[in-house]
């Protein structure tokens, strides 16, 4: 129904008319909502959520605490007393000598110790083909106390009682996080106990002033000789850097053993 021109417009009609008279570009309806505060903007919300997710992932990713008071993991290898002489393992007349450079905080050394050492001992050390001479260095430690140095000192003191290899294996099988305080004096003492040392003598050794400087000097000498990665195995003078491929290492040992005793035809262990 048409409205007469002189009839006053209602408020709604006036608003509709004004809307039609507005230029097209301005014909959008004004927002019924007040501007949202900044913290409610999608980017801020997404940023907050992303930060929370990132922190949650980090919390989940942190490695578990090492074995604590509940005890230590027992390594599978046992060492006959006649094979152990301080830090050396194997026959004094073995044709192949492996100098084993390790840092007790080094994860790759742990891999070598836990995955290959037992087999190497069974197949080559026990039969008299290989002698392993441990060369502990401490170059991964940060801060004070230097956990690498303290672990190496503990091992050196265990070596004085011919309990080095038990100590060595216990450390690697129970290795904690690097430079996180996991290798405390209490932990190292517990390892020493588990390795079967005379604790009073071991404690006296650990308190000596000459133990750590000797290890630091050995570390400096090793670094000077180009040993800058652990584990490094020097097999009759040939360096094998990193965790070796066991089969390749075994082949190298057999070759060197055969070269050292050609008359025997070297029936090296398989």
């Amino acid at each position: 129904m048409a409205r007469r021109n002189d009839t006053p417009l209602t408020r709604r009609e006036r608003r509709a008319q004004a809307r039609l008279e507005r230029p097209a570009g301005q014909r959008q309806r004004p927002s019924r909502h007040a501007p949202r505060p900044v913290w409610q903007s999608p980017v801020v919300l997404v940023t907050g959520a992303a930060v929370l997710i990132g922190i949650a992932i980090i919390a989940f990713a942190r490695p578990p605490e090492p074995p604590g008071g509940a005890g230590l993991i027992g390594p599978p290898t046992t060492y006959a007393a006649d094979l152990v002489d301080g830090e050396d393992l194997g026959s004094a007349t073995a044709p192949v000598v492996i100098e084993l450079y390790s840092d007790f905080q080094c994860p790759a050394c742990k891999l070598f110790a836990t995955a290959q050492l037992q087999r190497l001992t069974t197949e080559f050390v026990v039969p008299g083909t290989v002698r392993i001479e441990a060369r502990d260095i401490a170059f991964l430690g940060r801060g004070s106390p230097d956990e690498s140095l303290e672990l190496a000192a503990g091992a050196a003191c265990a070596a004085e009682q011919d309990r080095y290899w038990q100590f060595h294996d216990l450390i690697f099988w129970n290795q904690g996080r690097e430079n996180f305080g996991d290798h405390s004096a209490e932990f190292i003492g517990r390892v020493a106990d588990a390795a079967g040392v005379d604790r009073a003598a071991w404690d006296a050794c650990m308190a000596r002033a000459d133990v750590r400087p000797a290890l630091q000097a050995a570390t400096t000498a090793a670094l000077g000789a180009g040993i800058n990665s652990t584990p490094t195995l020097v097999v009759n003078g040939q360096p094998v850097v990193g965790v070796p491929d066991y089969d390749q290492l075994a082949d190298l040992i057999r070759q060197l053993a055969a070269a050292a005793s050609p008359a025997a035809g070297s029936p090296a262990p398989q």
Binding site: P42, A50, G54, P107, R177, N179
Partner: protein, 157 residues
């Protein structure tokens, strides 16, 4: 549904730049995953540190190599980038931004662990981290340069 009007970067839709970075990150993470799942350690050439980082307990989450999560993240980001390129949907850019930010936060932690805890830096991990930071920065720049302008459903911006 919000769609964004996108200003090109270097004459290219930013989603394509993100996609290229996602592919680079995917390639790096895939290499590390394959090597680590096979029980090996990545080859670093003259740069040392990959072996120590790869064998570190920090390189696994729940027993799974971190690189495997990197593959998943890169695939997700690549999908988001391509979907954003095709649709200009603002939410896809935001999702890319948020996920890459979460990745950058973890990467910052991982680099801290490498430098101050492990004492070795894996160049492959660092490269992945750089690509992730680049992806986050590009998504942030795109957002800073322009908010969504078209609010009508079904209208491309």
């Amino acid at each position: 549904m919000r769609r964004s009007s996108v200003r090109p970067i270097l004459g290219v839709h930013p989603a394509l730049i993100l996609a290229v970075l996602d592919v680079i990150g995917l390639a790096i993470a895939a290499y590390l995953s394959v090597v680590e799942l096979q029980g090996g350690v990545p080859v670093c050439g003259p740069v040392k540190g990959c072996e120590e980082v790869a064998l570190s307990e920090y390189s696994r989450i729940g027993g799974i190599p971190v690189a495997v999560f990197g593959v998943g993240l890169s695939l997700l980001l690549l999908t988001l980038a391509l979907a954003w390129w095709r649709t200009n949907l603002y939410a896809l850019l935001l999702a890319h931004y948020g996920l890459s930010l979460a990745g950058v936060i973890f990467e910052a932690y991982f680099i801290y662990v490498q430098v101050f805890v492990i004492g070795a830096v894996c160049i492959w991990c660092a490269s992945y981290g750089i690509s992730l930071i680049a992806r986050f920065v590009i998504a942030l720049i795109v957002w800073l340069r322009g908010s969504p302008t078209v609010l009508e459903p079904g209208v491309s911006g």
